[in-house]
Amino acid sequence: MTLLQLEKVSRRYPIGNTVFGSRKSLTAVDQVSLEVKKGQTTGVVGESGCGKSTTGRLALGLEQADSGHVLFEGKELAASGTREWRLRRQRMQLVYQDTLAALDRRMTVGDLIAEPLVIHEIGDRPSRRQRVLDLLQAVGLGEHHRALYPHQLSGGQRQRVVLARALAPSPSLLVCDEPVSALDVSVQAQIVNLLVDLQQDLGLGILFISHDLRVVRHVSDRIVVMYLGQVVEDGRADAVIDQPLHPYTQALVSAMPRLPGGFDHYLPLPGEPPSPTERPSGCPFHPRCDRAKDICRQTPPELLTLGPERRVACHLVSNP
């Protein structure tokens, strides 16, 4: 069952001088379509600046799409800030990367976790107390953490608190925006495994945004690869990792260290990702693609559906 569906969603930001000269705009997210199924995880990977975080914010309705549709549980999202939108928050929650900033440093862990319950008027005082205890336990913290302040916790513990807070109103969708990027590798593994366990217990749909392909592969059922605001490849996680079709995905996959061999397969990408304000003509990836042909420089490739769950946007695949 589809929980969240993005249909050709675009988001542009006006940039530059608006009084003199022409008004330009930056396309952060361009015609992105993806879906999250109930109880499953869709991973979004890409370099920084490729629009994956904006995609997450669009999915939650924190940003308004300029075009396209965001459907959550079959219904279009209400405009941000309205009462209806606020009520929807119970069902969809965001997990943050910067946990120290996301938690009010003047509130104790217990109050922070109880806050969504208070906002949505769920339960009374004793039942909220019990719920906070249950949540603390669910994310692997203890009762004694309840009276602590965020700055007294470690990064991993804070991420658990953020998770507990997001889970408090019993959402059906979690958007995790780089939830483990700020953590040590060992703590990353704990949090990722916790997320997987919680998903199995609660049947959550998760949109998992990360630049780390290792983590994304571990948690995701489907992977969406983004480049310069566009989806370049999309498919089942093992298919995308084991048989990447797009040259960009191939380069990303090659950058994952492997046993045996380490970095032997590594295909370094030349150059930097282009600025979204100066999109290359044709395929956005062609300046960095070593197999680019004339058609790649002239015509933007269509997102081609190859199978029931496989899409790729590359001329090399559509007409080799």
């Binding site: 924190l62 910067d98 996301a102 009010d104 806050e115 906002i119 807070r165």
Partner: protein, 277 residues
């Protein structure tokens, strides 16, 4: 975790002084030995006790033979009332306007910022003089007028704090939870800004005492027969060489109170921050 109650000497002295001032203000009618208008013509310009004066006039007497000690107690009462009331008004009005500007943005923000700039560019004394001349003088009006002092600074500060908080994660995170903006502002941004606003208030408080003293000194503030610290300094000025106690007694109170409030504000700022232990 139990926090140890640590108070350094200056904070201790400051709070003791403020307690004394509050006590004096509250109990002024009980502890004043004389009526503030009672004249004792035989003891005009009598120096304080210990400097050749009598026990009858502990801090000496003024040019009309009125008891400086009694007048001082009542002055503390008037001045503290004005300063406290006006500071509360100034901080409340300023914070409200600052938050409103930060929340609504657009034309509302521009209008409020314009208002702030107008207030900031007008010398307060001139505004006060004009208002007093126009509306006449009464204590509630005077307190309200003093409350206008410094609101524009507090408004700018509050707006800046709200904008900074808004760009930080926790305000966005709470919004994302589905909280009403009112909740975000009152439960999150306000407590996080409170420490800074409190320090700003402790700056405003002594300034208002000084402005009140200035206006009263000019004869536009508190009107006789009522007395305030400024009124006392104003009348004492003429006798500064012959009877310095008339001027010194209220001046010392003004200076010490201003310093004490600042010291206490500093201490509270540190105490209210849970990340500083």
């Amino acid at each position: 975790m139990q926090k140890k109650l640590q108070i350094d000497l200056s904070t201790l002295l400051a709070s003791l002084w403020l307690c004394l001032m509050l006590l004096t203000a509250v109990t002024a009618p009980l502890i004043a030995p004389h009526d503030i208008t009672a004249m004792d013509l035989r003891h005009r310009l009598s120096p304080p006790f210990g400097f050749g004066g009598t026990v009858v006039h502990l801090f000496g007497s003024d040019d009309l033979g009125r008891d400086v000690a009694s007048r001082l107690y009542y002055s503390i009462r008037t001045s503290l009332l004005i300063a406290f009331g006006a500071t509360v008004i100034s901080v409340l009005v300023g914070t409200a306007i600052g938050f409103i500007a930060a929340y609504f943005k657009g034309i509302v923000e521009h209008f409020l910022l314009l208002l702030i700039d107008v207030q900031a560019s007008l010398p307060f004394l001139i505004v006060a003089l004009a208002m007093l001349a126009f509306f006449g003088n009464s204590l509630p009006l005077f307190v309200a007028l003093m409350g206008l002092y410094g609101w524009e600074r507090n408004a700018r500060l509050a707006r800046g704090l709200a904008l900074a908080a808004g760009s930080q994660g926790y305000a966005g995170a709470t919004r994302q939870l589905g909280a009403h903006p009112l909740r975000i502002y009152l439960r999150h941004i306000l407590p996080n800004s409170a420490a800074t606003l409190l320090v700003a208030a402790t700056v405003t408080f002594p300034e208002i005492i000084l402005v009140e003293s200035g206006l009263s000194f000019l004869g536009l503030g508190v009107q006789p027969p009522m007395t305030s610290l400024g009124v006392m300094v104003g009348t004492g000025r003429e006798y500064i060489t012959r009877a310095p106690w008339m001027l010194l007694a209220p001046s010392i109170v003004i200076v010490l109170t201003a310093v004490a409030v600042s010291v206490l504000g500093d201490y509270l700022r540190d105490k209210l921050d849970p990340t500083l232990t």
